[in-house]
């Protein structure tokens, strides 16, 4: 399932046997994963699958069982010092609404040692967000732009984004991710992102993790995904033969049968129809209905 041998350098994030209980209910069932430096990770799962709980554990926002290290530190015990090198957006509506943009930047300059006010102001140039504006008077999209400007102006090693574009229209969402990729990402920085709109972030991901009911069912590099999984639009006369190869998912679209295969040679699949790499959303749908990818 896991494709962990990506680098010999110390991982930015390391989780071993990560479990979380709410009362008697176990939400996370012993997650094991490493996130190396310089990667862009997507964490994808249904509502209630455990994405936010996992992120909360990594960010020191909640207690957990097992071992978690972020930049070599226990996040639950060392959250405050860790936040010098970790930035996160867990909810775009969480900016303090009583402040003006100028006041927010002035406070952050004194509170966060790695916040660069000039950079933040630069990121806001060309947007409709004015320095004298009160945050409570900004639109949802403008608040998202402001929050992104804030986290991008923090010189952090790890940036965690939990549904950062929730509720935004497509224009803002695309601008948000383009800005992130063009103005923020470097080889030294690591990005961990969760979203339901997986197709919108697929182009930027280097690695993907699927979580289902508190368990990781897929964790691999995107290159591996494209070599391991194949999608075939099967010709009607080949459906029986293709089914015999054990697709992990099959559905009929506009009279054509699309099948997703795990670890089947593409040359072998080509005889049944057009072979492509499944999109992340197709793969997600496929894997959510079966066991972990082998």
């Amino acid at each position: 399932m896991n494709d962990l041998a990506q680098t010999t350098a110390a991982p930015i994030v390391s989780a071993r046997g990560l479990r979380k209980h709410f009362g008697r209910t176990e939400i996370l069932h012993g997650l094991d994963f490493d996130i190396p430096a310089g990667r862009i990770y997507g964490l994808v799962g249904h509502n209630g699958a455990g994405k936010t709980t996992t992120l909360n554990a990594l960010l020191g926002l909640t207690s957990y069982e097992g071992t978690v290290r972020v930049l070599g530190e226990d996040p639950y015990q060392k959250r405050a010092s860790l936040m010098k090198n970790v930035a996160f957006i867990s909810d775009v509506a969480s900016l303090p609404r009583f402040l003006r943009v100028r006041e927010l930047f002035a406070l952050l300059t004194n509170i966060h040692p790695n916040f660069d006010q000039a950079k933040a102001r630069g990121f806001l140039e060309g947007t409709d967000v004015k320095m004298e504006a009160r945050i409570k008077n900004l639109s949802k999209g403008m608040i998202a732009q402001l929050h992104l400007a804030v986290v991008m102006a923090i010189d952090a090693k790890l940036l965690v984004l939990d549904e950062p574009t929730l509720g935004l229209d497509i224009t803002y969402r695309k601008r948000f991710y383009r800005r992130l990729l063009e103005d923020y990402m470097t080889e030294e920085r690591t990005l961990l992102i969760t979203t339901h709109q997986v197709d919108e972030i697929e182009f930027m991901l280097s690695d993907i993790m699927f979580i289902r009911d508190g368990e990781l069912i897929l964790h691999m590099q995107m290159e591996t995904v494209s070599s391991k999984f194949s999608q075939v639009l099967v010709r009607p006369d080949q459906v029986a033969a293709a089914t015999a190869l054990g697709p992990i998912y099959s559905e009929t679209r506009f009279g054509q049968t699309a099948m997703v295969f795990d670890g089947v040679d593409r040359d072998r699949l080509a005889q049944f129809g057009d072979v492509t790499t499944p999109t992340l959303s197709d793969l997600f749908v496929a894997l959510m209905q079966r066991g972990p990818a082998k």
């Binding site: 926002l61 405050a80 909810d91 986290v151």
Partner: protein, 294 residues
């Protein structure tokens, strides 16, 4: 230290309404009433007002408004602590502040310190401005009742300074004396939010009731617990016989009054109260650290 000062400034920006704008409005109304009274020549004064001189009239007025502003401050602080300790949750800004490299204890300490420094300072400035209004009223009274005489500006300044110094010491000691009560409602607010205000009274009441039910008639009337709280609520200035000083012929002398005032304070209770306040803030910060942010 820089981040602590910034966090205190944040408190000022968030909660200045009760400590800057409201006193400003009160001062504005007082000034308007005074100006209207002068302009319309509506000032009336009974011939027998019980003070021997204009200076004593001024001292009496300045001390009276000191008591009023102190009462305003203590009431405003009670509501401030009941709100501030849970304001980040109420404003949905908890996740943002948790993304900053500051501990939960530091955040709550900044809230506590704001209530002990910047907000009382603002009220003290409002009190000093009120002193100017009292001076104007005194001059008008002296014109209406010539027997009171008109002291020089230096005498007014000297007397005002003596009373302001005494008020400042009284204010500081009152804040320290009532610190555990503020910390109590603040700590309750961290857990119960707006319900902290009734619970701040209900919980001690229930403890007192339980004591009376369990140890029926074996202790003082109403029980040891409520008796202790009742005594602890009393502040040192109650026992100073200020009226005698005010209505004596001698000018108010801070060098005499401050030591007399300090001698009425139960220092063991004050220090014990500060320790309790610190423990309550620490407990509240641990609760805040351990609960999932939203």
């Amino acid at each position: 230290m820089k981040s602590l000062v910034a966090l205190i400034k944040r408190e000022y920006l968030e909660h200045r309404g009760a400590f800057l704008y409201a006193p400003g409005v009160i001062l504005g109304i007082m000034t308007l009433v005074l100006v209207f009274g002068i302009a319309s020549n509506r000032f009336q004064m009974h011939q027998e007002i019980g003070v021997p001189s204009a200076l004593k009239f001024f001292e009496f007025g300045f001390l009276a408004v000191a008591a009023l502003w102190c009462m305003y401050l203590l009431a405003a602080l009670f509501f401030y602590y009941a709100d501030a300790f849970s304001a980040d949750r109420r404003n949905n800004a908890m996740l943002f502040w948790k993304s900053m490299p500051v501990t939960d204890f530091k955040v709550l300490a900044s809230k506590s310190l704001a209530g002990m420094t910047i907000f009382p300072a603002l009220i003290f400035v409002a009190y000093l401005i009120t002193g100017i209004l009292i001076y104007v009223v005194t001059m008008i009274t002296a014109m209406i009742l010539p027997r009171l005489g008109v002291p020089g500006v230096f005498e007014f300044l000297s007397s005002g300074f003596q009373i302001a110094l005494f008020t400042l010491v009284g204010l500081v000691m009152a804040l320290l004396w009532y610190a555990p009560f503020f910390a109590w409602v603040g700590a309750l607010s961290t857990v119960f939010r707006r319900w902290s205000i009734p619970l701040a009274f209900l919980i001690p009441g229930l403890i007192g009731l339980a004591e009376n039910l369990i140890f029926n008639d074996t202790g003082p009337r109403a029980g040891y617990f409520l008796n202790y709280l009742s005594e602890r609520m009393k502040f040192g200035a109650d026992n100073m016989e200020l009226e005698k000083v005010i209505f004596s012929d001698a000018s108010f002398n801070a060098a005499v009054m401050i030591p007399r005032f300090l001698s009425t304070i139960d220092w063991a209770q004050l220090v014990g109260g500060l320790i309790v306040a610190a423990l309550l803030v620490y407990a509240a910060s641990e609760y805040r650290r351990r609960t999932v942010a939203n």
